[in-house]
């Protein structure tokens, strides 16, 4: 029996760190996905004629960000996630602060103010804000297990969520604000919230759709119309959808080969290395490449859910649930967009979309998950 560690003001019972309890499957699949992402960055940018300069610049930058992400993952895994819970209110304020900074001093690109430039690097604070919001909401619901059935708990939870969603929406980044909402539903669901309350929330959202429609920007409305009928404006709002479908479909069973795709290097696929990266993947590697990606994702999600199931406390469980929700929602929306099952929104595909903020944030989230895994109760004999 190990010696008890000294108690801290935050721990009534210190949780020992056990390296042996790192989730190996989660770790391996994370590394495989990072590798897959680098391969896809190479494949979609090596031949591109939209950019000039070193054809490897994107791969090198992606590798650097992958290293940063893995370091962040390792660091956060060492850190007892209970501390994150203890500082949850601070994290919440910090999150809203980050999102406000983006609106105040963020730089514009493609008509949206989503990133902040620091020392020549651009950061999308909303990416890390998603992970911080998972921690905040997990802590909120974990602490209210007793009153989970009360509508008041849901309303307070929504009140916590609303400022973050609105700040992100103002950037404007409809997609990411939807990720925040999805995270809320995922965590509330696994926390044991009443199903009728969740259904009621969805119903209210659906009923208020005309109001939301009125609040949407013109380009967002055009994207929704184009989603319903891309050929109504094939050169305009429908262009991305049609070209994405062509890219995906033309990949066939095994794809055209790495860097051999034509839709993205020739500029038919816009933002082919991030938003529409899945279209490039399906074109280059075909149905087979997509199924391999899906298999890796499923393993990752199952591993994340297993960590959640085995967590020693509700906070750890809900973190696992929140991370799984975030991942599955982003995958659904990004892939769905590429194959015209979802309207066009700028949500990155985890690991595969080229972008440092997204990758580091996902690694950060998985680091927290490993922290949860490492501090679970050991398996029984």
């Amino acid at each position: 029996m190990a010696l008890p560690r000294p108690a801290t003001p935050l721990h009534d019972r210190p949780a020992p760190r056990r390296w042996t309890q790192i989730d190996p499957i989660l770790l391996i699949v994370t590394l495989l996905l990072i590798g897959y992402g680098l391969v896809m960055t190479y494949s979609t940018t090596a031949e591109t004629r939209t950019f000039t300069g070193d054809p490897m610049q994107f791969v090198i930058r992606g590798a650097i960000w992958a290293a940063v992400g893995m370091a962040a993952m390792a660091a956060i895994a060492l850190f007892d996630y209970a501390w994150l819970g203890a500082f949850a209110p601070l994290l919440y304020v910090f999150t809203l602060g980050l999102l406000s900074v983006v609106l105040a001093i963020g730089s514009s690109s493609l008509g949206a103010q989503r990133s902040v430039n620091i020392g020549g690097l651009s950061f999308q604070f909303s990416e890390v804000a998603k992970v911080l919001m998972i921690i905040v909401l997990a802590k909120f619901f974990a602490d209210r297990r007793a009153s989970i059935g009360s509508p008041l708990t849901m309303l307070v939870g929504l009140a916590l969520l609303a400022p973050a969603v609105l700040l992100v929406y103002r950037q404007p980044d409809l997609g990411t604000s939807l990720v925040f909402i999805a995270i809320f539903f995922g965590i509330a669901f696994l926390a044991g919230a009443r199903i009728w309350q969740l259904v009621a929330l969805v119903a209210i959202a659906a009923a208020s759709f005309p109001l939301v429609w009125a609040l949407l920007k013109d380009y967002q409305r055009a994207r929704l119309s184009a989603f319903l009928d891309p050929y109504s404006d094939p050169q305009g709002a429908g262009w991305n959808i049609i070209q994405s479908l062509i890219a995906v479909g033309s990949g066939g069973a095994t794809g055209k080969g790495l860097t051999a795709g034509t839709q993205s290097p020739l500029g038919y696929l816009p933002i082919a290395e991030s938003d529409f990266v899945f279209s490039g993947l399906a074109e280059d590697l075909g149905f087979a490449g997509a199924v391999i990606l899906f298999a890796l994702y499923i393993v990752l999600l199952v591993a994340a859910l297993r960590v959640a199931l085995r967590a020693k406390d509700p906070f750890g469980m809900l973190i696992g649930g929140g991370v799984a929700t975030m991942l599955v929602f982003q995958i659904l929306v990004n892939v769905g967009m590429a194959i015209s099952l979802m309207p066009v929104t700028g949500i990155p595909l985890p690991f595969i979309s080229h972008g440092g903020s997204s990758l580091v944030s996902v690694c950060f989230a998985l680091g927290v998950l490993q922290s949860v895994s490492m501090r679970r109760e050991p398996e029984g004999p």
Binding site: V248, Y268, F294, E377
Partner: protein, 624 residues
């Protein structure tokens, strides 16, 4: 080990979560299966269509040469001026428009509009500014002072060049930009909106031979429509060379004589056509005044076109085939052959032309003199009107000679090709008029009179012929009774030098005896040796028939008080191989001078006769 309470875990919710993940990935996979496996080929095709575009490579138009290979139409290099909007800053747009306008003689507003429209459509794609090919000097200005012409591109293209423009324009015609209606019809044959097509003449009729086979270039292009690289190339094949039956030497001899007469104002218009009676090949075809078809090739200006259209001598019409005239005495050949063939006359039919006029029911008909007693040969040689009035409808001068009548004349005239197009391989051929009593009833609702027959007998009245019709009729007499389809196409040769199949030319046998045809040839020879078209010191056995055709405008009264009408002159000739009546002629020629009355008296020598002698002696003579 203390076993913690795991009551906070709701396994059912996790199972539900897991099911949701399975549903989501199944849906995505099913959709991907449909897109990539089921409809993969369809989308693959779409991606290729996106990326690969096949551009046409225009082919050079084939050349046109005379029967000896002398070049009549070829292509010379010209240049097209285009602007690529993306390489031209908006601030310099007006400046460039004005500079190009001055250089190309186009309105600068229009140039600016074209550039702005293209900037919106696709700024990476060059838009053509010059409407017609630009000569090298102007292209050089643009390329050498490139800093003054931002975004301007110069591409080579060819200009059709007609070596002897005005001389051959009535035959060769010209090419011009394809119209939208034509394009709609020809698009399937590979015609493009910027293409030129033959507009008239040989260029039009033999478009299918002259137009080359366009090649293509498959290029890869990006989403901005910029060309990335050439993937495949099929070279264009130059059009076929069209050889005409024309002999440039004869064409120029004929043109020189006729042009001199027009220049000296002896007549206002002139036509000369020569044919090989043995096969219907046109050896020369001159129509004056004509026009320079190079004006059309380089893009005719509105003023130039207006001037051509305002000229009442119709320079754009090939008068050898496109207009009809009274045949005058040349038509006596038809009247004579009709009477001979119908059996109402023989070579020994004698008419005693004891006076120079006679009257029938109040109308007086004249001859140009009281000839005395004439048989067929002498009646023809001296071109006695009364002799042929007699053969046509009978006169008091020979009570025992029965006129052959207008129906027989019309029948044999039509057999000789009058009243219908000859079928020459040129557009715009007139069929002439060959009247008969039914025609008059149908046209004027008036009965035919004997006066109509008299007028018709000497090629006046309703009879109207094209110079080519008249020539072809004489050619059929000269060759012993075969009416050929006259034609200009001799041979078509492809780029590799191989001869291509060309149309079969038709011919018809005349239902006339060799004896009668021989008699006409004999009489025609006598026209030159003793008769109306005496040619002094003639070195070759020319035979022929003169004609003086009166037309509407009166030129005052002569001493006898008759209306002095304006008149045209004809001389139709053929040259047998030896001075005999055998059907061996290899050349027949018709010369027509329009309104010769301006400086000539009616009884003066027919100007066409002298010209014919000079031309044929030079063409066929020993020092040719």
């Amino acid at each position: 080990m203390r076993q913690p309470s795991r009551a906070f875990v709701s396994v059912r919710r996790f199972i539900a979560f897991g099911v949701a993940i399975v549903v989501i990935f199944s849906t995505l996979t099913a959709r991907l299966y449909d897109l990539e496996i089921v409809r993969g080929d369809y989308y693959h095709q779409l991606s290729e269509q996106n990326r690969i575009v096949r551009l046409p490579v225009p082919a050079e138009r084939g050349g046109i040469v005379d029967r000896n290979g002398y070049v009549l139409a070829r292509n010379i290099p010209g240049f097209a001026i285009s602007v690529i909007p993306v390489d031209l800053s908006r601030t310099r747009e007006d400046e460039l428009s004005q500079r190009l306008a001055a250089l190309l003689d186009l309105p600068s507003d229009a140039i600016g509009d074209v550039i702005r429209a293209q900037r919106i459509r696709n700024p990476y794609e060059p838009v053509r500014i010059s409407k017609t090919p630009v000569p090298r000097e102007i292209a050089l200005v643009v390329t050498e002072r490139a800093e003054l012409f931002p975004g301007v591109r110069v591409d080579p293209e060819s200009i059709r060049f007609y070596v002897d423009g005005t001389l051959y324009a009535p035959v060769i015609g010209y090419t011009g930009p394809i119209t939208e209606q034509e394009l709609a019809k020809l698009k399937d044959s590979g015609y493009l909106p910027d293409d030129d097509v033959g507009r008239t003449g040989i260029e039009d009729v033999y478009e299918q031979f002259l137009r080359g086979t366009y090649g293509w270039r498959e290029i890869e292009r990006d989403a901005a429509q910029r060309e990335i690289k050439t993937l495949a190339l099929q070279r264009a094949t130059v059009g076929n060379t069209v050889s005409l039956t024309i002999d440039d030497r004869l064409q120029k001899l004929l043109d020189a004589e006729l042009r001199k007469g027009v220049d000296e104002d002896k007549f206002t218009q002139a036509v000369g056509v020569a044919i090989n009676p043995q096969n219907g090949e046109i050896l020369a075809m001159v129509s004056i005044p004509g026009y320079d078809n190079n004006m059309f090739a380089r893009g005719i200006s509105t003023a130039e076109l207006a001037a051509l259209n305002a000229d009442d001598r119709h320079p754009l019409v090939n008068k050898a085939i496109g207009d009809r005239y009274p045949a005058g005495s040349t038509f006596k050949m038809v009247t004579g052959l009709s009477a001979l063939s119908a059996g109402t006359a023989t070579r020994d039919t004698v008419v005693n032309v004891s006076a120079s006029s006679f009257s029938v029911s109040g109308t007086t008909f004249y001859d140009w003199r009281a000839h005395g007693s004439l048989d067929f040969v002498h009646g023809f040689a001296h071109s006695s009107d009364i002799y042929f009035y007699t053969l046509a409808a009978g006169t008091p001068f020979a009570p025992n000679v029965h006129g052959v009548g207008p129906d027989a004349i019309a029948k044999y005239a039509r057999m000789l090709g009058f009243g219908a197009p000859t079928g020459i391989d040129l557009p715009g051929e007139d069929g002439g008029i060959m009247p008969d009593p039914q025609w008059k009833i149908a046209t004027f609702d008036e009965p035919w009179t004997i006066g109509n027959t008299y007028q018709e007998a000497i090629g006046q009245g309703f009879v109207a012929v094209t110079p080519l019709q008249l020539l072809n009729a004489y050619a059929s007499v000269a060759n012993g009774g075969t009416l050929w389809q006259p034609h200009l196409l001799k041979q078509v040769t492809d780029a590799a030098g191989k001869t291509l199949p060309i149309p079969q030319w038709t011919s018809q046998k005349l239902d006339m005896t060799q004896e009668n045809l021989r008699l006409i040839r004999e009489a025609a020879r006598r026209v030159v040796t003793i008769g109306h078209a005496y040619m002094p010191n003639l070195k070759i056995p020319i035979a022929g028939k003169t004609g003086t055709a009166e037309f509407g405008a009166s030129a005052g009264k002569d001493s006898a008080g008759r209306n002095k009408l304006g008149f045209h002159n004809w001389f139709v000739s053929f040259v047998p191989q030896a001075d005999n009546t055998d059907p061996t002629a290899q050349i027949a020629m018709a010369i027509f001078t329009y309104d010769s009355s301006k400086s000539l008296c009616e009884l003066c020598l027919n100007p066409a006769v002298g010209m014919t002698q000079r031309i044929l002696e030079q063409y066929l003579g020993p020092n040719k």
